[in-house]
């Protein structure tokens, strides 16, 4: 009957914070846009000059601000506009993802990629892949519940189970 025609369940739309480097990934994402490639709309892009600029505190702040997943993306090794920024970043990521894993934020919520300025298609694949992985994992309520008590009624409004 009428009710059967409609999917009454609301699909969870994850919020993905994507830290992308200006010279490669951001340009690649732009190319995906100008090429009219269809992609999941869940990523909020934060443009930085280079992945070497990214302090792990940004990732923590992204989760604090309500991100369900974080993507960090930059130039392929050897292609960095500033020569070695992404090499420094890569080493940091090796350490930081292990720390977060140990603390309970596993690799299903934190993703990394190399996307060059010409890889518009790859960008779409990365975004779609990350979005689906995080969608399957679900909203990151466990992190948001670490707020102070006064913010909990706010979260209740958002639909987070306290």
């Amino acid at each position: 009957m009428l009710l059967q025609r409609y999917n009454m369940e609301e699909k969870f739309e994850p919020k993905i914070a994507a830290f992308v480097c200006n010279w490669c990934t951001y340009t690649g994402a732009d190319l995906a846009g100008t090429s009219r490639l269809k992609q999941q709309p869940n990523a909020r892009l934060i443009r930085v000059p280079c992945t070497g600029r990214i302090d792990p505190v940004f990732i923590i702040k992204a989760f604090e601000s309500g991100a369900d997943g974080v993507l960090v993306s930059g130039c392929h090794p050897g292609d960095c506009h500033y020569n070695a920024g992404n090499f420094h970043a890569r080493r940091r990521w090796i350490m930081f993802r292990e720390l977060l894993e140990f603390a309970g934020i596993d690799s299903s919520r934190l993703h990394f990629s190399w996307v060059s300025a010409s890889e518009g298609k790859k960008w779409v694949d990365v975004i779609d892949g990350v979005t689906e992985t995080v969608r399957k994992k679900g909203p990151f309520d466990q992190y948001r519940k670490m707020s102070r008590k006064i913010e909990l009624p706010e979260l209740e409004e958002e639909g987070v189970e306290i």
């Binding site: 601000s65 102070r148 006064i150 913010e151 909990l152 706010e154």
Partner: protein, 342 residues
């Protein structure tokens, strides 16, 4: 005043009843470190024969972080929201004189130029069940700062351990009402009243009046260069102390639209504590900061409010990462004062 008694078994039952009546019951945790709702159900801490908790109970009256209000940007207008208040009455068990006395001492500064409702509301809504203290070690000096192991200052009800029970003294009106409300758990006591001033004969570790006089006139003494020399400027002494009360007010935003104005513990030992917006920092060395700590506790607060800002609990000294002992320093000042006079 009529002395009452409560059997240990009845005390446990009283606590159960208080929880059923939606009270917030606070006691000492099983590891003896802190006061919290997850306290040791065996009530062993009521025997008070161990050192005091590592962290004082002030976090229940003056929390380590407290929201003053929550704000949200609502399309240009700002929505303010009052903090969530726990309306339950609080009953604190196992507070020793060095804990309970901190409340009337703090009340002076929290009602000085401004009535701090955050503090006042919590104190008014609490019953402090003080307990006579059976512990005294080389870090303690409650006797020297106007208190004692049997001091009732700050308590609404005072309990003295005896065999399988506690003698119960009613101290305040609030305490009297509480005992009346739960009279079923208490019985009259007709035995020998407890001895007063048990430790009065002990020699004092230092003479406070002497120390105060020295502090009044030795701001620039070389003693201060050594006193805080090994201090690391962390904030542990101020944070574990029952009477330290400095706080910082911060606006902390989360996301782009909402945030909270919070009142957080601060410590005069932090290197940035007195840094001005101009960049100037009047207390830019740990020697100056440590001089401030001792002077505030033993002189300035007394000058202003006629109270010593210290209950002699020794927590700061036991907890200090580099074992700075405030009692040792005050004893040295006493010694200096004597040799000056002589």
């Amino acid at each position: 005043m009529k002395l009452m008694k409560i059997e240990k078994a009845n005390l446990s039952r009283l606590i159960d009843q208080l929880k059923k009546d939606n009270h917030r019951v606070i006691g000492v945790t099983p590891d003896g470190k802190r006061f919290s709702e997850n306290f040791d159900e065996s009530l062993k801490f009521m025997e008070t024969d161990t050192p005091p908790t590592a962290i004082s109970f002030k976090e229940h009256f003056f929390p380590k972080t407290e929201a003053l209000f929550h704000y949200k940007n609502n399309n240009g207008a700002i929505d303010l929201k009052e903090p969530v208040i726990d309306e339950r009455k609080t009953v604190v068990f196992g507070a020793r004189p060095c804990d309970s006395a901190s409340l009337p001492i703090l009340s002076k500064v929290f009602n000085w130029d401004y009535a701090d409702d955050f503090f006042n509301r919590r104190v008014e809504n609490s019953i402090i069940i003080g307990t006579e203290c059976n512990h005294r070690d080389d870090w303690c000096f409650c006797n020297e700062v106007g208190l004692s192991q049997e001091s009732e200052k700050g308590s609404d009800i005072f309990m003295i351990p005896v065999e399988d029970a506690f003698l119960v003294k009613t101290i305040s009106e609030k305490g009297a009402k509480f005992i009346e409300e739960y009279s079923g758990f208490f019985e009259s006591y007709t035995g020998i009243p407890p001895a007063e001033n048990k430790n009065g004969h002990e020699e004092k570790k230092f003479d406070y009046d002497n120390v105060k006089k020295w502090l009044d006139s030795h701001f620039d003494h070389g003693f201060w260069d050594e006193a805080g020399e090994t201090c690391l400027s962390c904030g542990q002494c101020a944070f574990v102390c029952p009477t330290c009360h400095c706080f910082d007010i911060v606006d902390e935003q989360c996301g782009t639209c909402s945030g909270v104005r919070a009142k957080n513990w601060d410590a005069c030992q932090f290197s940035l504590f007195t840094k001005h917006a101009s960049g100037h920092n009047p207390r830019d060395s740990r020697e100056k900061r440590y001089r401030q700590r001792i002077s505030h506790k033993f002189k300035y607060y007394n000058d202003k409010f006629s109270e010593i800002l210290c209950t002699g609990c020794g927590r700061c000294s036991r907890g200090c990462p580099v074992s700075i002992d405030i009692l040792e320093l005050v004893e040295e000042i006493d010694h200096l004062a004597h040799s000056n006079a002589g």
